[in-house]
């Protein structure tokens, strides 16, 4: 096969790689992107998108179940809903397929050449791709490594058989009657919530004494309450010991051995950067722990080699990768760009949802900053009441001296969309007064944002 030469080669078409390639193409950079699977990466194929589809389906099912039980205060009754999980998955796959197609189309429209296959570095400028039709050599002036991450496994519970990762969990055609989840991080709890709503008996095993360890207790409390309400059993401070007969052997917080019967055991103990199998050893790039070390321009330790996304470290979030990819494309096209983001929003799609941007009160304190914190509960928010969900709150953290907003957190049903407002406030350098003086439409959950700012200023109206 004839060698390909290009100015920019992107390895991996996830949300980092494909955004980088599209932006580079728009800027007239001669770009090639290599992807072994379908475009869109973990996020689109086996992560964000399919999980959100499943979560939505589960929420609809649970709502109908709730109505059918005759418990709805809304006065609506219905007969018991049915679930055809195969169709649910097909619907989800349809969404993923549409998006795969969309990304492929966007790449093409931007003039990016896509090569399907597994890439392996020969040297910093040359990559060999295993394609269906044989090896393809690609030479590039600049390379962007966007290989992403994969689910981390537990040595005692290797994937296979009953033991599944999130990837398999999102492709189940049959509902597991008893689902044991190891790891109470956001992936485990998002899926656990969904399967619980779909009717599975869900048990969550977490080695730490609390769920969602990256968030503070104030934020996770409403989530924990809702999990218990959904009948999810939380075994906190418990250790998974391995398979035992029909289920999972665990040692509880009290030190007792217990076996949890399980049809499926979902292991969600985090994600690892994908740094193997593509010839990293040929490049000898500097590492930052398990990750590739990058600077504020996403440059690796080798000239002309950039790295973006999960392979470069926390936060392992699609939108961080995309922003990096966009920036790198512009740098390669000759623009002056540097990573100067104030904050990266993060959303946990549990029920209720958690949104965080910037510094938590704790983190601000740890940084030695004197703060003002304002918290407004959805209990005092009209829209939350009309949605039947008044659990949760919005919390604003600001500098005490000049009221510059440092962080915004919220927990509440369906408040993921508020992340847009939160992120904008931080990126624009808003002060409490800016948020307080912005008219927030009534009745919306967003009013809680304004009220939290007012409360930090000591003058809330609705509490």
């Amino acid at each position: 096969m004839k060698d390909i030469s290009c100015r920019l080669l992107v390895i991996g078409a996830g949300p980092g790689g494909y955004v980088c390639a599209i932006r580079a193409g728009q800027l007239g950079v001669d770009t090639v992107i290599v992807e072994a699977a379908k475009p869109g990466g973990t996020c689109l194929n086996i992560g964000c998108i399919p999980s959100k589809a499943l979560i939505h389906a589960a929420q609809e099912f649970e709502a109908a179940t709730h109505l059918a039980a005759g418990k709805s205060a809304l006065g609506i009754g219905t007969s018991a809903p049915t679930l055809d999980l195969g169709r649910t998955m097909a619907w989800k796959d349809g969404i993923v397929g549409r998006l795969n197609h969309g990304v492929a189309g966007l790449l093409k429209r931007a003039g990016v050449k896509t090569v399907a296959g597994w890439a392996r570095f020969r040297d910093g400028k040359t990559v060999e791709v295993e394609t269906e039709t044989g090896p393809q050599v690609i030479r590039a002036e600049q390379v962007v490594i966007a290989t992403g991450s994969r689910a981390a496994a537990l040595p005692l519970l290797p994937f296979g058989g009953k033991v599944i990762s999130s990837t398999e969990a999102l492709a189940l055609n049959e509902l597991p009657g008893r689902l044991v989840i190891v790891g109470a991080g956001y992936i485990g709890l998002e899926l656990g919530t969904a399967f619980a709503k779909l009717g599975a008996k869900v048990t969550v095993v977490e080695a730490l004494p609390r769920i969602l360890p990256q968030y503070d207790g104030e934020l996770t409390r409403p989530v924990e309450a809702r999990l218990r309400q959904l009948g999810v059993e939380l075994l906190l401070g418990a250790k998974a010991k391995g398979l035992k007969g029909e289920g999972l052997a665990v040692e509880t917080a009290e030190g007792k051995a217990r076996t949890l019967a399980a049809d499926k055991i979902l292991v969600t103990v985090g994600r690892k950067p994908l740094t193997e199998g593509w010839g990293l050893e040929q490049l000898d790039l500097d590492r930052d722990g398990p990750f590739l070390r990058i600077d504020e321009h996403c440059r690796s330790s080798m000239r002309g080699v950039y790295a973006i996304g999960d392979v470069t470290g926390e936060l392992m979030l699609a939108h961080r990768a995309s922003a990096q990819g966009e920036m790198v494309a512009e740098i390669i096209a000759g623009e002056r760009q540097v990573w100067d983001k104030v904050a990266i929003p993060a959303v946990c799609f549990t029920d209720p949802e958690i949104v965080t941007v910037g510094l938590s009160p704790e983190a601000a304190r740890a940084a030695g900053i004197e703060t003002k914190v304002g918290l407004f509960p959805f209990q005092a928010n009209a829209r939350a009441m009309t949605l039947g969900r008044d659990d949760g709150f919005v919390r604003v953290v600001a500098r005490a001296d000049n009221h510059l907003v440092l962080g915004i957190q919220g927990v509440g049903a369906g408040i993921a969309e508020l992340s847009a407002a939160f992120g904008l406030a931080l990126e624009m350098g808003a002060r409490l007064e800016d948020i307080a003086a912005t008219i927030h439409a009534h009745p919306t959950q967003g009013e809680a944002f304004m009220e939290a700012a007012l409360r930090a200023l000591g003058r809330p109206i609705h509490i």
């Binding site: 623009e335 002056r336 760009q337 540097v338 100067d340 500098r399 001296d401 000049n402 009221h403 510059l404 990126e427 624009m428 350098g429 002060r431 007064e433 800016d434």
Partner: protein
Amino acid sequence: MSEHVIKLPDVGEGVAEAELVEWHVKLGDLVREDALLAAVMTDKATVEIPSPVSGEVVWLGAEVGDVVAIGSELVRLKVAGDEASTPAPQPAKVPPAPKASPAPQPPPAPKSAPAPAPAAGAPARPAPSRHLAGSAPRAEGDKPVASPAVRHRAREAGVDLRRVAGTGPAGRITHDDLDAYFAAPPRAGGSPTLQPRTAVEEVKLVGLRRRIAEKMAAAHAHIPSITYVEEIDVTALEELRASLNRGKRADQPKLTLLPFLMRAIVRAVAEQPQLNALFDDEAGIVHQHAGVHIGIAAQTPSGLMVPVVRHAEARDLWGCAMEATRIAEAAKAGTATREDLTGSTITISSLGAMGGVVSTPIINHPEVAIVGVNKMMMRPVWDGSGFVPRKMMNLSSSFDHRVIDGWDAASFVQRIKALLETPALLFMEG
């Protein structure tokens, strides 16, 4: 109420006039007895004029830069009726010779000052709050706050936002702040937008600067000079100098090259006395001096001065070094006397590390020769079979060609060269 006239006193150097270089008061000022009114400059010394009485300044007799005759009216003060009678007997008399006596304090002042003012004032004043920091860039460690669009614009223009002051709330940098930054780029770091500057500042030449200007112009206008440059191999001299410095006594000054050059000049002018001379061109007489008084051009905070080492012929190497150090320090500190600053018969000009390769010294009129010292540096020198590293230094010397012929000038410099290159000769008698 009456008026007290202060005349320019005889500043005691036998001069008839002095240049007013500074006013310490202005019209309407209330001055206390002994407070300084003005500074005047005679040949090379600056003299402060104190007020003999207390009163209000109602008239100033000259502007800065004016040359004022001794005895002419300088200041008129309106004095209180009481005091008017006191100075009455001595209006014609000039005030006592100026001295730097401290202004007497009224006795109650020092007592009352600390008593009623405890630390109350200081803490009441709020620390400069950061959210008011409109003009100064933020406190150390604070990141600049700006919207993404502002950040992008700054990046495109190559501006580091840490250097831009923010006038927005919480010190936020706005588009207007960037506009202001572009319009007035800071001195450091180069400006992203080059703008023509049209302002012209008028700086009046006063005091020493004016004296330098006049002297330089006179020297340059009167003297048709030749400049002769020769290179000197100072390797041996440098070794000797280092060795002497190593072994010197604690009370001896550190030797620079200067005292060696002074000694070399002393030796050279002994053979060519026409070079150690003052040329009175109006009278047509060259005064050849037996004593070698070497002026040493020195940069001082107020400008170029030429303090003088008198009778260098009567000082040994250490003596030359010590005296040169003393007068240079006196010139820099402003404590040089008239004696220290006048009477040279030949001059050395040296800029040390800034000496450059070649210079064209201007003769210190009415002298006839000046020796300029250029920078010493290691240079490859051909020794007949190969290049060897030698410490080389150029001397750029100017001569009044009206009375010094090129041959004499060259002979003089060659003699100095020989003395410096074989420094033992400096210490040979006869």
